[in-house]
């Protein structure tokens, strides 16, 4: 091992008690303007002397640990030592970046407030001055507040319920001022413990390190209750963990062994916040968000509103064009008229390409013929029960077919793939107009292009990511699926291919799609929709011990029995649970498009493997504490 130092040698012995990504520094007294508006993470950090502070770190400080092959140390990193910010040499860039860190000692904190719909947080250590302002990209400042309140005692002010006043120097920090020795974790004779640790370390460095650190980090993460009685170590720690995870069944297993005790902790997620859905974006609001010439000014704000409540049906025709990248947000009415004219011409010239093909040409053009034949077959069986597409000789079917054939000319290499008619039908139904529907369809296809890869690599990749997310968010279910030969998640194939089109009514799919098109609150939110649906079925799937075929049947039969608002709300709740989990891995961060921390866990090397090999095993239960 090149880096032979033990954990004690790390110069900067601070522990992150909580970290939250996607936090922009908006304002800070005494800081140059160049420091502002950079993105980073906001943390609650415990110093070596047990004092705590709020710390903001710019993302460019968080470098990838080059030493990721070194599994033992990679694991140590995951428990929150500051080590990960060092990637070998302390460069001058690094030192500059370090100077940009902002620290607010919690003891000095006087008041803080949350504003702008959970997007902004301000801190003050002096009455009357907000020294620092942070912007939460994901609009989830409430999570930081929830964690911060574990460390300070606060009261809300009477005149403003978003402002918190720190009422007394927190008692808990005094408790944590004690050293680990004083916390009395090891009730046996200390020398024996140390000796056992050393001898075990020689024989099983990996497990012993984890065991020792797991005990320490458990205290840090889960509090220090129940540590006073003189009881068996495992009993105490297990008890303590059980208390803090009382909501979870089976969370802790203690394996007794002659030589040592391994306390296997299945890391659990924070409680799931219940986030109610909002009201749809209304006509008045939508008009209010455009300037006099028609530019949509507050794009992020619009997306936030749509994410929260969808779009009122009366303005969908307009809003969808923006969401599907047909209309650029910044264009004026006049510019949009120009664009529409240009796009209309473009559409009809592509349409003419196939319409002007003679019978003879077509007979000698098998690749076009094959595509056309597939389109014709699918058009005749797309949403025919809906009045808009029902009946013989329905002219809307002709439009559906024309758009799909024109898309074949637009993207001949991709051609036509089954599922595309499902994607197009609700767009045509809503927009009514052939050209608008085509360009919105193009925008939607761009978002899900990998679903239709020739080798289905995109679908397989998503199914694998879904399996990884489920393993993190609902490990018991993931383990059940793996055990029943369903770890490849193929039973979710239909959901992902056409973005749940077959699972919801027309009315509901419009709502779900417009929310997903916002790309909020994170990348791959549609996978969290899958997790939300599956999590709701978890009890049935597990308690009835459903096997391979029954799982598929049960999932297929959920079609048209799902509540879109409830699922969206659950998925958002799961999102908050996942991103605020102390054991959040880079693997999950990558899926959700969050900045990575350079933390590698043993399960990450399995990235390249197919989903059939499950990562949900007790063997890695303690690597992600």
């Amino acid at each position: 091992m090149s880096r032979s130092s033990s954990a004690e040698d790390i110069p900067d012995q601070c522990k992150d008690l909580f970290t939250q990504d996607g936090v922009l520094l908006k304002a800070c007294l005494g800081r140059p303007v160049t420091d502002l508006n950079s993105i980073g993470m906001l943390c609650i950090v415990q110093n070596h002397d047990s004092s705590k502070y709020i710390e903001w770190r710019p993302n460019d400080l968080i470098t990838i640990d080059s030493d990721t092959q070194d599994q033992e140390w990679a694991v140590v990193n995951t428990i929150g030592r500051r080590q990960r910010t060092l990637s070998g040499n302390m460069t001058s860039d690094y030192a500059t970046a370090r100077a940009r860190i902002i620290k607010i000692p919690i003891d000095e904190l006087k008041t803080f407030r949350v504003t702008r719909n959970n997007q902004q947080m301000q801190f003050s250590t002096k009455p009357g001055v907000w020294q620092t302002t942070f912007y939460f990209q994901h609009g989830n400042a409430e999570i930081f507040v929830a964690y911060l309140k574990n460390h300070v005692k606060t009261a809300k002010t009477r005149h403003d319920r978003n402002t918190y006043v720190v009422v007394e120097p927190n008692i808990e920090s005094q408790v944590l001022n004690k050293s680990f020795a004083e916390l009395d974790i090891f009730t046996e004779n200390t020398t024996d413990v140390v000796w056992n640790l050393v001898s075990n370390f020689k024989q099983r460095p990996y497990e012993t390190t984890l065991e020792a650190f797991s005990k320490l980090t458990d205290i840090v993460y889960y509090g220090n209750e129940g540590m006073n009685g003189k009881r068996d170590v495992s009993e105490e720690v297990a008890d303590l963990l059980t208390k803090s995870m009382s909501a979870m069944e089976d969370a802790t297993t203690v394996t007794k062994n002659e030589e040592y005790e391994v306390i296997s902790v299945k890391p659990t997620l924070p409680p799931r916040p219940c986030i109610p859905r909002g009201t749809p974006l209304s006509t008045e609001k939508w008009e209010g968000l455009q300037d006099t010439e028609g530019r949509v000014t507050e794009v992020e704000g619009v997306k936030q509103l749509i994410f929260r409540g969808g779009v009122a049906h009366s303005i969908r025709q307009s809003v969808w064009k923006y969401l599907l990248d047909y209309y650029p947000w910044h264009m004026t009415h006049a510019e949009l008229r120009q664009l529409t004219k240009k796009r209309t011409e473009e559409y009809f010239s592509m349409k003419l390409q196939w319409r002007s093909m003679t019978e003879g040409q077509e007979a000698r053009f098998s690749e076009y013929r094959d595509r056309k034949s597939l389109v014709e077959k699918d058009v005749n069986r797309t949403d025919r029960t809906h009045p808009f597409f029902a009946g013989d000789n329905n002219p809307n079917l002709v439009v559906l077919q024309d758009i799909l054939l024109t898309y074949v000319m637009y993207n001949f290499d991709l051609g036509y793939v089954q599922g595309m008619s499902d994607i197009l039908a609700p767009l045509l139904l809503l927009l009514g107009n052939e050209v608008d529907s085509f360009w919105c369809f193009v925008g939607f296809m761009d978002k899900i292009a990998t679903n239709f890869d020739m080798d289905q690599a995109g679908m397989k990749h998503q199914l694998l990511q879904l399996q990884q997310l489920l393993t993190f968010a609902s490990p018991a279910l993931a383990a059940h699926l793996a055990q029943k030969d369903s770890g490849n998640m193929y039973f979710c194939f239909r959901w992902l291919l056409v973005w749940f089109k077959r699972e919801f009514s027309h009315r509901d799919i419009m709502r779900l799609w417009e929310v997903l098109w916002t790309s909020l609150p994170c990348a791959n939110f549609h996978l969290l929709i899958c997790v939300a649906i599956l999590d709701a079925e978890k009890d049935i799937l597990i308690s009835k011990d459903y096997g391979f075929t029954e799982i598929l049947k049960h999932v297929n039969d959920l079609s048209m029995c799902l509540d879109v608002d409830k699922i969206l709300s659950t998925a958002e709740g799961i999102y908050h649970q996942v991103v605020s989990a102390p054991h959040l891995t880079d693997q999950i961060r990558i899926i959700l498009g969050l900045p990575t921390l350079g933390i590698t866990t043993s399960s990450q090397s399995e990235d390249e493997e197919l989903a059939t090999t499950s990562t949900a095993g007790p063997s890695n239960g303690y690597t992600r504490i």
């Binding site: 094959d370 034949s373 597939l374 077959k377 699918d378 005749n380 069986r381 797309t382 949403d383 025919r384 029960t385 793939v417 089954q418 599922g419 008619s421 499902d422 239709f452 020739m454 080798d455 289905q456 679908m459 397989k460 490849n488 193929y490 039973f491 194939f493 239909r494 291919l497 056409v498 077959r502 009835k544 011990d545 459903y546 096997g547 075929t549 029954e550 598929l552 049947k553 297929n556």
Partner: protein, 211 residues
């Protein structure tokens, strides 16, 4: 707990997109037909229990998406199937030509001794026919596979096709069983299922009653 069946056979419907796989399955399992079926995305199955020479045979019939692009996913479900219906559309030359590709696909992904049958569907559409019955028969002889023309719409030969395939599987299984165990114990497949049922009595039966 009383058994609801003596045998469980897993069958598979494969063939080009739009040849009528889902229609055939719907005709057989629900005895119904709908001109405007939706295309199959991914995979699904239906169940029907038939009486075969005094034995209750539960047929679990898997329906797959036809487009070639989805084959890497659908072939994952070939495993364990005991009988495969290869379906083409008599009004679509290409779907007939592709039967050879589908057979190759089976050879690569299904067990070697899987029972096969070729179905020429949509034989009610005589005016649009592109593939004669004789060509279908010829192909079947070439591969030594049974062949029948069907119409899911007119309910022609669908029933007999599934009965034929099921009977062939049953005969093959009993023959194999006799060869390996002359004392006359029942089929291996059956025994596995029976054990499974004892272990988890709620699973299969409760699902069956719903289907």
């Amino acid at each position: 707990m009383a058994k609801t069946y003596d045998y469980l056979f897993k069958l598979l419907l494969i063939g080009d997109s739009g040849v009528g796989k889902t229609s055939i399955l719907f005709r057989f399992s629900e005895d119904a037909f709908n001109i405007s079926f939706i295309s199959t995305i991914g995979i699904d199955f239906k169940i029907r229990t038939i009486d075969l020479d005094g034995k209750k045979v539960k047929l679990q019939i898997w329906d797959t998406a036809g487009q070639e692009r989805f084959r890497t996913i659908t072939t994952a479900y070939y495993r364990g199937s005991m009988g495969i219906m290869l379906v083409y559309d008599v009004t679509n030359e290409k779907s007939f030509e592709n039967i050879k590709n589908w057979i190759r696909n089976i050879e690569e992904n299904a067990s070697a001794d899987v029972e096969k049958m070729i179905l020429g569907n949509k034989c009610d559409l005589e005016a649009k026919r592109q593939v004669s019955k004789e060509r279908g028969e010829q192909l079947a002889i070439e591969y030594q596979i049974k062949f029948i023309e069907t119409s899911a719409k007119d309910s022609l030969n669908v029933e007999s096709a599934f009965y034929t395939l099921a009977r062939d599987i049953k005969a093959k299984m009993e023959k194999k069983q006799e060869a390996s165990n002359p004392a006359g114990a029942r089929s291996g497949a059956h025994q596995i299922r029976a054990n499974e049922q004892q272990r988890k009595p709620t699973s299969w039966l409760s699902r069956c009653s719903l289907l």
